[in-house]
Amino acid sequence: MKFVYFAWVRETIGVDEEALTPPAGVNTVADMLDWLGGLDSGHGEALKDRARIRVAVDQAIAGPETPIGGATEIAIFPPVTGG
């Protein structure tokens, strides 16, 4: 599964993207954030404040309960600030 990061989430984790395989039992966006945040200190620091984290699954905005099974690309980023 391809993970892509943007803005300060990208800077804090330290890479633009990475290929990762979530373990069995990681079924939803909320599960995925719990697992990913425990990988190392960079991921943990980037994901510690869930109120400041947004997720898109295959380019569509997702909520905590959105399933990630079968997804190709998971994007993690701060609340958007365009316009």
Binding site: F6, A7, A56, Q59, V80, T81, G82, G83
Partner: protein, 148 residues
Amino acid sequence: MIRVRVQREDFDSGAELAALEALGGGAVASFTGLVRGDGGLKAMTLEHYPAMTEKALAGIAAEAERRWPLAGGTVIHRFGRLEPGARIVLVAIASAHRAAALEACAFLIDWLKVKAPFWKREEFTDGAARWVEARREDDAAAAAWERR
């Protein structure tokens, strides 16, 4: 049909409005967002999520077309490094009547601000830099349209 473009280059607001005026709709409303130069801002860099950006903007445009009878429209959003005074975004809508044109224009910019995957990083003349924080008022403005 609202056309959506995401580009690094500047755009010609006058030419974009003239193209919509030529549709013969009777009314054209527009919003142009510019880089503000206050607070010692030196430049702003807009990052986006290329695989998602056009899809997200097209979705917002489709919702505007569902809500109002439109003759046409243009949404252009730039990315990259922009200095004070630079154009960031254009939303322009043509319709038969002013209410639809003005409302659709306001809706598009309000939704775009909270739903399109862009992030602004500001650089200041004293060397400081920071990512712009999302504003609660923007969420409230977008949410108000959800209830209509």
